[in-house]
Amino acid sequence: MDAENLMQEKKYMISALVLFITSILWPIITEAVWFNIVVQIREAINTGDSGQLILASATSSILFTTQNTLLFLSVVVGGRLLLNQWILKENILLIVQITCFVMLNIIISKMLSIPWEPITTIVAMISSCYLIRKGRRQSHYFFQSTVVSIQVFFAFQWLNIMPIFSVYRFGQSDIPISIKIAGVYLNSSSVLNFIGFSFFIPLFFSAVITSTLFQSHAQNIAIVKENYLKERALESMKTKAMGNRVYLEINSLAHDLKTPLVTIRGLNSLLLISGNQEKLQDYCNKIENAVEKMSEMVTSFLYGSSRQKMKVEKLITYIRAQIPVEDEKLKLEIDIEEGLSEIYVNKVRVVRALINLIENAIIVPCNDTYKKIIIEVKGFMGGIRISIIDNGMGIKPSDLPHVWEIGHSTNNTTGLGLPFAKQIIEENDGKIEIASILEEGTRVNVFFPSVDREIEE
């Protein structure tokens, strides 16, 4: 058993003991109030005022309720202690608690000559146990038990002063008997019955409602916890999906690496047959360039933070080389403003991000006979804005806020393209936004700050 559990058990033990001692001391502390009830009954008989009897009934109900609730709570806390020590079945624990409660009441009543109401107390105790049974292992169990048991015990104490329930052995101690006899003498039996019912029914109903609310609160908490765990699992799955996306991008890099390799191979075969020193020099330089290009590509991909100064035109040319433009139904327009400043990005990654955006524009269905994609590059607020505009079906306004979510797709794709692009662009200090009109087309704007601004920052 760890230190925290030990501490908690110690706390339970002390609480149970304090509650038990208070319940024993309660009749002694309130002795004057008990005497006052007798005085009130005498007053009622002398004056013929049944109002005094109701007052006496209320006082006695409060006194009985307090003592019973304190004792009940001490048994409840003790029960929780037992539950922590041994794994007990609910029914067995209930029987143990009821037995303890009755035994303690009998012992206290015999030792201190304090009156007690066996029927009322046992019925109220069983009702309380039934109402709080579901929260036994919850953190707010003590609070729930207190609130519910106060209402139940107070409700049942009112049955003690009702002459109609005397036949069921309710109200057999001194004070309730005196109240009922005085009630009969003052012709107020029906008043006592009515008052008793008026308190019993709403109080018991309120106890049932309170317990139901506590139970529903506990259920809600359990649902929230379950949802949280599910969300965590989903998040983890999304992360894995993004990991897979990176794997796909590596595949595409491997494909890109083939181009300089083919160049090297071709040049190498030329080297074998060429005897011209000048040409040899030229081929060697070209091989050197191809190797450098490959190295640059591998570095860019391996190290995400690695960034280079580069012209946008170069970036677009690189992208242009990788877009399948053989399709007759696809018209690609590239509009680049002249004299644009350089940007500072990870070339391979940003290119992959932009290609993802362009591929999205290509695959989206359109109403026109051909797909038109415009890549527009312009200077914008001290940086560069690359816009990819298509004439596709567009995106529904309700779907727009979700396009950046992992797994969200309207075209039966993986739904990873846009989140991946967004992640790469933001890693390179860029921004991305999307605007779309249904049935007309979509525009994706990507903004990168100029290299001068990047250095300043």
Binding site: F35, V38, I45, P115, Q172, D174, I177, N187
Partner: protein
């Protein structure tokens, strides 16, 4: 689910039947044919001392009835021998009250001693005694029965309610000591037999 519903229905039915039986069935079984409706001739005179045997609040009701009947009375829940001066009748209202005795700061033994001494003195002075018990079966317990035995056997007249005599305890006492007894249905019906002892 079916068993649960059946249990609830059975329990509710039993409760309703029990409630109806206890509420509406006439309690004829409590009646005693030997009991008188009231005394045929008076046995007591005025200057009545009303005292309690057990310190329950029931004595206050008898005091109230006596006042309403305009019987000249002294109400002394803890009356002792000197209080008997100029007294022509003593009424003991029996009924043990734990809190009543605590309030008077006496024990049950003290109360028994007081009643015993008072009864002896009353006997010596040949003052008529009336014992009244209106606590019903709820207040009947070992201590109340002891007090009833003490007072009833010395009494000249016993008045009680029918539910107090559910076990024939009072009528047997009356029979044993040849004392007239009146059993009334309701506490408020006590007026007639009570006044018959005086007028």
């Amino acid at each position: 689910m079916k068993l649960k519903t059946l249990t609830v229905i059975s329990f509710t039915t039993l409760l309703v039947i029990s409630f109806m039986l206890n509420t509406f069935v006439d309690k004829k079984t409590y009646r005693d044919l030997q009991a008188l409706p009231s005394l045929p001739r008076p046995i007591a005179k005025e200057m009545v001392l009303i005292t309690s045997a057990g310190q329950s609040t029931d004595a206050y009701m008898i005091k109230d009835i006596a006042n309403k009947l305009m019987l000249h009375n002294f109400f002394m829940p803890q009356a002792v021998e000197p209080d008997l001066e100029n007294i022509n009748t003593v009424v003991f209202v029996a009924g043990y009250s734990d809190i009543g005795e605590k309030l008077q700061e006496i024990s049950f033994q003290d109360e028994k001693k007081r009643i015993d001494k008072l009864l002896n003195s009353v006997k010596e002075k040949e003052i008529p005694i009336i014992t009244i018990y209106i606590g019903g079966n709820s207040r009947r317990n070992r201590k109340t029965d002891m007090l009833l035995k003490m007072t009833c056997k010395e009494s000249d007249y016993i008045i009680s309610t029918t539910d107090s005599n559910y076990d024939q305890f009072l009528s047997n006492l009356a029979k044993e000591h040849n004392i007239p007894i009146t059993l009334v249905e309701d506490i408020r019906d006590i007026t007639e037999p009570f006044v018959s002892a005086f007028r």
